[in-house]
Symmetry: C2
Subunit: 464 residues, 2 copies
C-alpha cells in the first residue's frame, strides 16, 4: 500500500470545450447530443476510441466524438487535479512501499495520503444491450465498459458488477470503504428509464472505484476492466475468489518503512473523523429527505396547481368571450396568454427536479452509501488501537515480550497510515464532488428562474 | 332613471405620477408610504383635502399628499374614462328622463346605457378609530369617509354601512345588483389586521357604489356621504326608512319617453346575460378556489420546504467546516450562501401571495358577491316578461282592455331598458377591473421571479 505525505492544493480546474459541429446522440449508447457553439465541461479526455466524455450545462453527460470538440487549453496537467506532489511520486503499481512523515502543523499539511498514479484510471459504462440465455428463456442486460488505459470495451452484466463488489469488499473492506452497488431491482428490469438510471449509477460507482489508487490498481479490478476473452475472465475469477490476502490481511502487504505514529494523536484524529462522517451522514440524509419531498411536490401538487391556475384564467377568458360586449379582445387575449404561461410554468416546474435536483440527489445518494461503510472501517481501527493498549498490560503481566509488542505496534501504525490516507482521500474527493454538484445545481436554478421570468415577461409585455 | 344610447370605447387610460419626495404613511390612516423617484398609479385625484389616492407597483394603495406627486399629463379628461358620448350627455341628477334607441347592428353598439355624470363620484374610507359607548362598556370602530364632492369627512361605523346596504337593497334590488358588504366578523374585531382588511373591503364596496350613476345619485347614498350633523343624519335616516318608492316601484319613476323594445329580442339578450353571469360565477369561484389553495401552499408547506432545503445546505456547510481538512473554504462559503438564498426564497415565496394574489382574490371576491345578486335581478325581469305574455291572453279573454295592456307593455319596456343599461354597466366595469387586476398581477409575478433569480444569480456568481 502506498501513501505519500503531501500538501493538498486547491480544488481541480474544470476543463471546458467548444462544440464545433452538431452531434446527435444514438439513444442508449451513453452519447451526448450537442449543438454547434455550445460550451461543455470535459469530464474525461482519456476515454479513447475517438471519444471525449463531456457534460452539458443541464448536467447531462455522455460521449461526444473528439473531432467535434475544441478543448480549451488548461494550465494544469492531469495530475494537477489531485496533488502537486504526485508529479514527483511514482506509482509502484500496487502494494509495496509506504513513505510517511509525522503530520505537519502548518496549514495545508494533511498527513499521509495514498500515492496516486500519474494518469488516473477511468472508464465509461455505455451501450446497454439485451442478451438472452437458455434459448431466450432468460434475458439480461449487458453493459459495455471501456477503460481509458486499453480503450478496449469489455461486456459485463449487473451480476458481474455485483461479483466485483463482493471481491472488493472482502479484500479491502477492513481498510477502505467500498460503497454498495446501486439497488438490485427485480421488476421492470427492461424498462428503458430503469436501465438508463442503473447505467448512470453503475458509471458513478465505477468512477469512484477507478479514482481510488489502491482499488483501481488491484488485480481483480484490472481483470474486470481488461480481460481479453472468456477464458481469461474465468481463470481470473477463480484466482480472485481464492485470494487469501483479504480482510485485515491486507495490512500485512504494507511496507513497514515508516516511523511509528503517535497512538494518542491518531486516536484523536480517528475520533474526529468518526464524528465527522456520522454528522455528514445525518446532513446528507436530511438533504436527501427534503430533496425527495420537494421533488414530489414539484412533479405532483405544484404542477397540478399551476395547471389549474392556468385553466382558471383560460376558462375566464372563454366566458368573457361569450359576453357579446365589445372592446375586450385585449383583456381576453391577456387572460388566455396568462393561462398558457401558467401551463408552461407548470411544465417547467415539473421538469426542473430532473435538471437540478437529480444530480444533487445522485451525488448525495452515493455519499450516503459511502458514509454507511465508515463505521465498520473505523471499527476495525478502534479494535486495533484497543489491542495496542492491551499489549502494554500483557507486557507488564509478562504474557508477551517487548519484541511481540513492538511488532504489534508497528502493524497498528501501518493501519493508522492507511486510515489517514483514506480519510484524506475521502475529503479531497468530497470537496471535488460537492464543488461540482453545487456549481451545476446553482447554474440550473438560475436558468430555471430565468426561463419562468422570461415567459412571464413576454406575457406582461402583451398586457402593456 | 337615465339611460343613454352610446358606443363604448376602449378601456380607461391609467394615469401615473412621479413621487417627488419621500412620504411615510401614518399607520391605519389609509395613507401610502412612497419613495422619491417611484412611479405610482393615480386612482383618484378628486379626494380633496390636498390628498391623491394612489397605488404603488406592489398593488398597495392609499393617500399621498398631492404636493408630493407630479401627475403625468393625460390626454383624456375624466369622462373619457367611460364613454365619449358622456361629454354630450348631462346628468339630470336622478330618475327622470330616459332616452333610448333600437340596438344598432354595427360593432361597438351595445344598446342602452345609464347616463353617467361628468365627474364620477368617489370617496375615500380611511383613519379607523376606536370609539366607545355606555361608559366604555361597548366599543366600536369608526371609519372616516370623505367624498370627492364636498371633501368633508363624515364618520361611520360598520353598522351604518350595513344600514345603507339594507336601504339600497330594498330600493334598487329589483333593478340593480347590490353586492353584500364584507363579512361581519364578531371575534377579534379590534385586531389591526382585521380592521385594515375590513377598511379595504368597505373602500372597495363604496367605490363600486359610487361608480353606479343611479345608486350614487340617490338621496340615501348622498345622505350617507354628506350629512352635516347628527340631526341631519337622523332626519335623513327616518326619511329613507319611510321611502315608499322601493322594489319594483322604482321602475315607475322612469320616464316613458322611449320607443318600446322588441320583447323577443330582449328576452334573448336577457337569457344570454343570465348564462354569462352563471358561467362567470363558476369561473370566478374556480379561480378563487385554486388561488386559495395556492396561497396556503405558498405560505405553508412551500415556505417550510425552502426553509428546510436552506437549513440542510447550511447544516452540511457547518459539518464540512469541522473536517479539519484544508482548502474547502470556497465550498463551505458556497453551501452557506446557497442555504441563505433558500431561506430568502422561502420568505419571498411566503410573502408573494400578499403582493400579487391578494388583489386578484379581492377583485374576484367582489365579483363573486356581485354575480350572486344577478339571479334575483334577472328573475324580476323574467317574471315581468311572463306578465306581458299573460297580458296578451287576458286581452283575448276580455279580462283587461288593450289600453291596460299597452301600459303594461310600456312598463316592461322600461324595465328592459334598465336591465340592458345595467348589463352594459356590469360589462364595462368588469373589463376595467379585470384589465387593471391582470396588469398588476402579471407585473408582480415578473418582479417575483426577478427577485428570486437575482438572489440565485448573486449566489451562482460566488460559486464561479
Amino acid at each position: 500500500m502506498t501513501t505519500s505525505y503531501s500538501t493538498i492544493q486547491s480544488g481541480p480546474e474544470v476543463i471546458t470545450a467548444q462544440v464545433m459541429y452538431d452531434f446527435s446522440a444514438e439513444p442508449g449508447n451513453n452519447e451526448l447530443t450537442v449543438k454547434e457553439g455550445e460550451t461543455v465541461t470535459v469530464l474525461n479526455q482519456n476515454v479513447g476510441g475517438g471519444w471525449i466524455e463531456a457534460q452539458n450545462s443541464r448536467g447531462e453527460s455522455g460521449l461526444v466524438p473528439e473531432d467535434y470538440l475544441q478543448v480549451s487549453v488548461c494550465d494544469d496537467d492531469d495530475d494537477g487535479e489531485w496533488d502537486e506532489e504526485w508529479d514527483d511520486a511514482r506509482s509502484t503499481g500496487g502494494y509495496g512501499e509506504t513513505t510517511g512523515e509525522e503530520e505537519g502543523e502548518a496549514t495545508g499539511h494533511v498527513g499521509p495520503v495514498w500515492l496516486y498514479p500519474q494518469s488516473p484510471l477511468d472508464c465509461v459504462v455505455a451501450d446497454p444491450k439485451k442478451g438472452s440465455k437458455m434459448y431466450g428463456l432468460k434475458s439480461y442486460i449487458e453493459y459495455q465498459v471501456t477503460p481509458n488505459t486499453t480503450n478496449r470495451p469489455v461486456n459485463h452484466r449487473y451480476k458481474h458488477f455485483d461479483w466485483l463488489y463482493e471481491r472488493l469488499l472482502e479484500k479491502f473492506g477492513s481498510a477502505i470503504p467500498i460503497p454498495s452497488l446501486p439497488d438490485k431491482q427485480v421488476t421492470g428490469r427492461f424498462e428503458e428509464e430503469f436501465i438508463k438510471m442503473r447505467m448512470e449509477r453503475l458509471q458513478g460507482w465505477m468512477c469512484r472505484m477507478c479514482r481510488h489508487p489502491v482499488v483501481s490498481n488491484s488485480d481483480v479490478f484490472q481483470l474486470f476492466l481488461t480481460y481479453r476473452d472468456e477464458k481469461e475472465w474465468k481463470t481470473g475469477k477463480r484466482r480472485a475468489e481464492k485470494d487469501e490476502c483479504v480482510g485485515p490481511m491486507v495490512f500485512s502487504l504494507i511496507d513497514p518503512e515508516a516511523p511509528e505514529l503517535d497512538i494518542i494523536e491518531v486516536e484523536q484524529k480517528c475520533e474526529l473523523f468518526s464524528r465527522f462522517t456520522k454528522e455528514m451522514d445525518d446532513g446528507v440524509k436530511d438533504l436527501l429527505n427534503v430533496g425527495n419531498i420537494h421533488w414530489k411536490r414539484c412533479t405532483g401538487p405544484l404542477r397540478k396547481e399551476y395547471q389549474k391556475i392556468g385553466k382558471a384564467f383560460q376558462n375566464l377568458s372563454s366566458v368573457f368571450n361569450t359576453s357579446g360586449y365589445t372592446g375586450e379582445a385585449t383583456l381576453t387575449d391577456a387572460l388566455t396568454a396568462a393561462g398558457k404561461t401558467y401551463e408552461e410554468i407548470s411544465q417547467i416546474v415539473a421538469e426542473q427536479p430532473r435538471k437540478d435536483l437529480h444530480f444533487l440527489m445522485e451525488t448525495n445518494n452515493e455519499y450516503k452509501g459511502l458514509l454507511g461503510c465508515f463505521p465498520d472501517t473505523i471499527g476495525v481501527h478502534k479494535a486495533a488501537i484497543e489491542k495496542v493498549r492491551e499489549g502494554d498490560k500483557m507486557v507488564a503481566a509478562g504474557k508477551i515480550n517487548t519484541q511481540d509488542k513492538g511488532t504489534m505496534a508497528k502493524r497498528i501504525s501501518i493501519m493508522c497510515y492507511s486510515l489517514q490516507a483514506e480519510m484524506n482521500h475521502f475529503h479531497s474527493n468530497r470537496i471535488y464532488d460537492y464543488n461540482r454538484v453545487m456549481q451545476l445545481y446553482l447554474e440550473e436554478q438560475i436558468r430555471f428562474y430565468e426561463t419562468v421570468r422570461g415567459g412571464q415577461e413576454r406575457e406582461g409585455s402583451m398586457k402593456r
